[in-house]
Amino acid sequence: MERVTGRLIQMYGNIVNFLRKCVFYILSVGPIPNHIAFIMDGNRRYSKRLNLMQGAGHKVGYSALMSMLKYCYELGVRYVTIYAFSIDNFKRSPEEVQSLMDLMLDKIEELLREESIVNRYGIRVYFSGNLKLLNEPVRLAAERVMLATAKNSKAVLSICVAYTSTNEIVHAVRESCEEKCDEIALLNSSGGYEPDESDHLIKVTDIEKHMYMAFAPDPDIIIRTSGETRLSNFLLWQSANCYLYSPSVLWPEIGFRQFLWAILNFQRTQFYLDKKRKQL
């Protein structure tokens, strides 16, 4: 009896997978976003609403994340970025911060395993942010994952930890200024420096190449769950022309429906975006 139920469940799962792939096939007729970013908001509210233990919402949120990643990579989205932990989140209670760090360490180490999603889809993982702010175990685990997946080339997963956009911009500005100063010092010493040359002015490209997110193109869609419509210091620089979608579901509740809706709306506005890109 249990074998029959097991078989039925498996069959049901296969049918759902097949139907999903059909939907993705149809969607691929139109433009597919190259880069989707997620602000995974609402885990604590989910815990509270279902009277779960503290931290349980984040665990359910992790499974929601795995589903979303699966949909993205199946559809053919090459870059996915997630806002895992903001520098502002350090303001939370020490217990909560510690439990989030523990969860992150656990999940980062899971990525290193053979059967993990990164190996299944050939994903290269980046950790973007001021990693010096993390405790040592998490930072070392992150560096291990980045090294282990460095050769993967089919897709990219960017995990923003200890990240805020203003911190990223400050870091990029600082590096650009240092670079320019060094350049000028070098030219000075070799006698080739002309004080009025506008080549020595910092440009957009100088700042962009020093961003933590320099390895990825700008996101096409930013999805923030739980109905809050703000960026909370996430990818401010990169979101200049990006479609912002804020479904009211909490992050652990996000599913295929919201994903599909985001893609359809993206496709609807893509004509306008392409026109803009041609102009620039």
Partner: protein, 311 residues
């Protein structure tokens, strides 16, 4: 800004109990409503609004000294009003096209809409309004259209200087002004100079502006300072960048609320750094149709939001 402003005498506005800090988020303390209970009703969210003047019920001897609170529509809480509202005035051309009118009519209707919103901001105690009048990207529009916009700006500024002075409005223009026609640049500088001491309300007009341009120019100024030894590259931090951004001309450089009309869900390169914690509101109507009712809806939605700043 092609409009004539007709204002009722400016109401006395009690200063909001917040200290403006640079990038440190202020916490909106939703204090208990000290106003009479008739004010604490659920907002009707319809186009008819009931305006009434609220009086403090003070002790007898103090009544002459009590200020009459300004008129606020039903449902809006004074203490939770945004100090700085930013607007992306999108949809003028679509508005004109949908009515078979020339593009010029769309922009003129948009200017009238702007007048209404400025008036409402002054009335409802919003201290700063930033408007995205012309983006760096808009230079790529057809030359005829760009020239039309430049001439509309010129006319607007010339016609309304008197009103800005009378209503105590400070006008600041941010953006890469070097790209503008010289006559317009001169007008802008004169207007800024003439209104720089006005304190009731600030109108920030972003012309030839983009968020990325703002950060890049801040970076260039810092690099210049670093070159002259005024600052060490290693010392550059958020507050130094903040001071070089063009919005530093304002007491409240960060918008609390950003409204974008015409149903587009994107920021289109407006004020990126400053929008870090800004509540975004996307309105479906086109800018020329965005009036008091829609603005009220946006403000009410803003007041429902819980701003946590990551905490």
């Amino acid at each position: 800004m092609l409009f004539s402003l007709h204002f009722s005498p400016p109401p006395v506005i009690a200063p909001l109990p917040f200290k403006p800090l640079s990038h440190v988020p202020h916490h909106h303390h939703h204090t208990l409503n000290m106003l009479p209970s008739t004010h604490v009703l659920k907002p009707p969210l319809c186009s008819t609004m009931e305006h009434f003047t609220l009086n403090h019920h003070g002790k007898g001897g103090e009544e002459e000294e009590e200020e009459v609170d300004q008129t606020l529509p039903l449902g809006l809480r004074r203490e939770a009003m945004p100090r700085h509202v930013a607007v992306i005035m999108d949809g003028n051309r679509r508005w004109a096209r949908s009515r078979d009118l020339p593009v010029r009519s769309g922009y003129e209707a948009g200017a009238r809409s702007l007048r209404t919103i400025v008036e409402l901001c002054c009335k409802w105690g919003i201290k700063v309004l930033s408007v995205f009048a012309f983006s760096s990207d808009n230079w790529f529009r057809p030359k005829v259209e760009v020239e039309l916009l430049m001439s509309l700006f010129e006319r607007g500024m010339q016609e309304d200087t008197g009103i800005f002075l009378r209503e105590n409005i400070r006008v600041s223009v941010i953006g890469d002004l070097a790209k503008l026609p010289e006559a317009l640049q001169e007008l802008i500088l004169n207007l800024e100079e003439t209104t720089k001491n006005n304190t009731h309300f600030q109108l920030i007009v972003a012309v030839s502006y983009s968020g990325q341009y703002d950060v890049v120019q801040a970076c260039q100024r810092l690099a210049l300072k670093a070159k002259h030894g005024l600052v060490e590259p290693g010392d550059i931090d958020a507050s130094l960048i903040e001071q070089e951004l063009e919005t530093y001309c304002s007491e409240f450089p960060h918008p609390d609320l950003l409204i974008r009309t015409s149903g587009e869900f994107r920021i289109s390169n407006f004020m990126l750094w400053q929008l870090a914690y800004t509540e975004l509101f996307f309105a479906q109507s086109l800018w020329p149709d965005f009036g008091e009712a829609e603005f009220l809806k946006a403000l009410l939605a803003f007041q429902q939001r819980r701003r946590r700043y990551g905490g």
